[in-house]
C-alpha cells in the first residue's frame, strides 16, 4: 500500500500520469518558443527570415524581397553575381553603376532608389565577405523557395 502510494506521487508529489502530461506541455511550449525566435525583431521568425540581422519584415519596404531567389533577402545580399562572395567586383559591376538611379538588387532598403544608405548595407557585407546571414536552409542555391 505504502509502496504504491510512493510510486504514484514519486514526482514532486504529483501522480505520474499528471507529471508526464505537464512535462509534455512544457516541451511543446519550449519547441514553439524556439521556432518563434526573431533576432532582428522584424516579426519574421528566424527559421523563415531571409535576413537574420537586418529587419526586413512586414513593416519595412524590403519585406522579405529576394529578387534573385538565392535565399538571401535583398537587404543582406550584396552578392549580385551569386558567387557566394561579396567582393570588389560586386561593387564595380553591380552597385556603382546603379547609384542615384533605380535599382533592383542594389536597392537594399527597397525605397525605390539606390543611395548611400544602400551602400552602407553593401559595405557591411563587403567587410564580412559573404552575403546574409539567412535563416533559410536553402540559402545559396537558386531557386531557394521556402
Amino acid at each position: 500500500m505504502h509502496s504504491q502510494e510512493s510510486l504514484d506521487t514519486a514526482t514532486f508529489g504529483l501522480p505520474a500520469s499528471l507529471f508526464l502530461l505537464a512535462l509534455l506541455v512544457v516541451l511543446l511550449a519550449s519547441s514553439q518558443a524556439s521556432a518563434q525566435l526573431d533576432g532582428d525583431g522584424d516579426l519574421v521568425p528566424d527559421s523563415f527570415d531571409n535576413c537574420l540581422e537586418i529587419a526586413n519584415g512586414p513593416n519595412e519596404p524590403s519585406n522579405q524581397v529576394d529578387t534573385d531567389l538565392d535565399g538571401y533577402g535583398n537587404p543582406c545580399d550584396g552578392d549580385y553575381d551569386n558567387s557566394l562572395i561579396v567582393d570588389a567586383s560586386d561593387y564595380a559591376t553591380g552597385f556603382f553603376p546603379t547609384l542615384a538611379g533605380p535599382g533592383t538588387l542594389t536597392d537594399h532598403d527597397g525605397n525605390g532608389i539606390v543611395t548611400v544608405t544602400d551602400f552602407s548595407l553593401f559595405l557591411r557585407q563587403f567587410s564580412s565577405g559573404v552575403p546574409g546571414p539567412s535563416g533559410l536552409a536553402c540559402a545559396g542555391t537558386i531557386p531557394c523557395l521556402p
Partner: protein, 244 residues
C-alpha cells in the same frame, strides 16, 4: 600580513574611476566627420524677402581627418508654400574630395559624385521634395581637404561646391537645411557605419507685400462704402427733386 583599510569614500571614488576607464573606450571617437558649411548667401535678404525675390546659397563640404566611404547630401526641409527651388549646380569637376587637386600626403583618394548638373528636385517615397546635391561612394576611404576644388574648378580656391537658388512665393517663414537628414542620405564610415553630418541651415522669412493689401483695404473698406453712400444720397436727392 597586514591589511589596509580603505575608507568608503575612497572605495567609491576608485569604483567610479574604474567605471569611467571601462566606458571611455566604448564612446564613439568622432561624433561628426563632415560639415555642410554655408559660405555665402546672395540676392535678397533671407530674413526679409518679398514675394518674387530670389536668394542664392553657396555651400561647401568640409571634413575632419576621418575616412569617409560614402556621402549623400541634400537641400531639404523647406516649405514649398513659402519658397520654391529655381536652379542649382554642383561641382564643376566630376568629383569631390580633391579628385583634381594634388592631395597632400595625409589625404586619401577622391569620392565621385553620381549627381549631374543642373541639380534637380527629387522625392523618395512620401517625403517632401529635396534638391539632391551629392551622392558618392567608394570602397577606399576619402576625406575632404581645404585644397578641394569648387565650382570654379580651381584647386585650393575654397569656393562653393554647390550653389542653389530659391524664390519666395508667399509670405511665411521656413528654413533650408543642407545636410544628410533626408531619406537615403548619410555619411558612411568603415564597415557601413552611418552617421549624420553637421547641417548648414539658412532661415528664410518672406514678408507680406504690405502695399497691395492696404490699397485693397482702402478700396474695399473705405472708398467702396463711401461711393455707395454717395450714390444713395444722390438717389434720395433725385427722388426728392422728382417728388418736389
Amino acid at each position: 600580513m597586514p591589511t589596509v583599510e580603505i575608507s568608503p569614500s575612497r572605495r567609491l571614488r576608485r569604483t567610479a574611476l574604474t567605471l569611467v576607464a571601462l566606458v571611455l573606450p566604448l564612446l564613439p571617437a568622432a561624433a561628426q566627420a563632415v560639415t555642410l558649411q554655408v559660405i555665402g548667401v546672395s540676392g535678397a535678404n533671407p530674413a526679409a524677402m518679398s514675394v518674387g525675390e530670389t536668394i542664392t546659397i553657396d555651400v561647401r563640404v568640409v571634413a575632419d581627418a576621418d575616412a569617409v566611404y560614402g556621402l549623400g547630401v541634400s537641400a531639404y526641409g523647406y516649405d514649398e508654400a513659402v519658397v520654391d527651388y529655381v536652379d542649382g549646380s554642383g561641382l564643376a569637376v566630376a568629383s569631390i574630395f580633391h579628385a583634381v587637386a594634388i592631395p597632400p600626403a595625409t589625404a586619401l583618394i577622391g569620392l565621385d559624385n553620381a549627381i549631374g548638373n543642373p541639380l534637380l528636385e527629387s522625392v523618395i517615397g512620401g517625403n517632401d521634395p529635396r534638391v539632391w546635391l551629392f551622392t558618392g561612394t567608394s570602397l577606399s576611404p576619402a576625406n575632404a581637404q581645404p585644397l578641394d576644388p569648387g565650382l570654379d574648378g580651381v584647386v585650393g580656391g575654397g569656393d562653393a561646391q554647390f550653389r542653389v537658388t530659391f524664390q519666395a512665393v508667399a509670405p511665411g517663414a521656413t528654413q533650408i537645411v543642407f545636410g544628410t537628414g533626408y531619406e537615403g542620405d548619410a555619411v558612411v564610415l568603415a564597415d557601413g557605419v552611418q552617421i549624420q553630418a553637421v547641417s548648414g541651415i539658412v532661415a528664410v522669412s518672406v514678408l507680406g507685400t504690405t502695399a497691395v493689401p492696404s490699397l485693397q483695404g482702402i478700396l474695399l473698406y473705405g472708398l467702396l462704402p463711401a461711393l455707395l453712400v454717395g450714390a444713395a444720397l444722390a438717389a434720395v436727392r433725385r427722388h426728392g427733386e422728382l417728388g418736389g
